[in-house]
């Protein structure tokens, strides 16, 4: 009797329906959000960890040229470590002779590799710089870049 009842119960067991309405709602919201933030030109520009870019009203796009990243502890050119930065001072950087610095040599090599036929704007370097750094640190980079043949810059900023 008991065995018959169990068989009867097993037969009547219905697979519970998964309630996916709320999941669909969530997916729809995520999808709409992502569609709005979709960019056909995703930024391949890497920002150094811990670096905070200043905010600006500038509407100009950042071109993908040579990037110089200046954070509170390191100086990089195209993600290649060039020098350490300590308390706003670029290490092993002679203020009197910037042409002896590693940064100058590296930029000069890059300058020689640029096709002179190219648009002048392509030779502008993009400077990513932490908003809390003083001008004296930035100036060392700006001056050296100018000497190496890059007088035009783009300061990377976050859109306000």
């Amino acid at each position: 009797m008991a065995l018959g009842q169990r068989r009867y119960q097993r037969k009547s067991f219905v697979i519970p329906k998964l309630q996916i309405t709320s999941m669909m709602d969530m997916f729809t919201i995520i999808l709409i959000f992502l569609l709005f933030s979709f960019s056909d030109n995703p930024e391949k520009l890497n920002i150094e960890k811990g670096m905070i870019l200043p905010k600006s009203t500038s509407q100009m796009d950042c071109s993908k040229n040579i990037t110089v990243s200046l954070s509170s502890n390191s100086l990089k050119v195209d993600n290649q470590h060039i020098a350490d930065v300590n308390q706003g001072e670029i290490q092993d950087f002679d203020h009197q002779h910037p042409e002896k610095s590693e940064l100058y040599k590296h930029l000069l090599t890059l300058r020689h590799n640029i096709d002179p036929q190219k648009n002048q704007d392509n030779s502008a370097i993009v400077i990513f710089c932490d908003q809390h750094l003083p001008y004296k640190t930035i100036n060392q980079v700006v001056k050296t870049s100018g000497m190496a043949g890059f007088p035009n810059f783009q300061f990377a900023v976050l859109k306000k």
Partner: protein, 168 residues
């Protein structure tokens, strides 16, 4: 009647929409969109350092609209000094623009500076270059804020070419 009601109940079974293909599509779309989404917008401020130019003899135009000036913003720790450079203006006209803005509550009065720049632009509309000379200890963030107010107001463009320089 009872039979009719039972028959109707049997026919009224809920028709479930098969959501599995939609879910599959979502699962493909979301990782794709996540990979191409940009959560921060990086823009750029175009600037340059001063470069040597051949010194052509400037002619003195009579009309203010033809005169070009270069406003200079000297950023110091406690104040901003402003003056104007131009080979087409007399010393008397140039000194008219020598103004100093002291810091107010720890910040530079950028709105006042912008108003002055607007006045310069109105008077000499052909001018498009501005020189920013920050002191060594001025923070990058402050320089960017100053560049922002020098380039344009909410309505119109002021001096879009910002040149960053050292004090000579």
């Amino acid at each position: 009647m009872k039979r009719f009601v039972r028959q109707k109940r049997l026919n009224d079974t809920d028709t479930d929409i098969d959501m599995v293909p939609i879910m599959n599509m979502f699962l493909v779309l979301i990782p794709f969109l996540l990979s191409s989404a940009s959560f921060f917008d990086i823009n750029a401020i175009h600037t340059s350092v001063p470069v040597k130019q051949s010194n052509a003899n400037p002619t003195a135009p009579q009309d203010n609209k033809e005169i070009t000036i270069i406003p200079v913003i000297e950023m110091q720790i406690n104040k901003i000094e402003m003056y104007v450079l131009s080979e087409q203006l007399s010393a008397k006209d140039l000194t008219k623009w020598d103004i100093s803005f002291a810091k107010q509550d720890g910040a530079f009065p950028l709105a006042d500076i912008q108003a002055l720049l607007q006045e310069m632009k109105n008077q000499y509309p052909k001018s498009d270059t501005i020189l920013v000379i920050p002191e060594d200890d001025i923070l990058y963030e402050t320089i960017i804020q100053t560049m922002d107010i020098a380039r344009n107001t909410t309505q119109n463009q002021l001096f879009p070419n910002v040149v960053l320089s050292d004090k000579i």
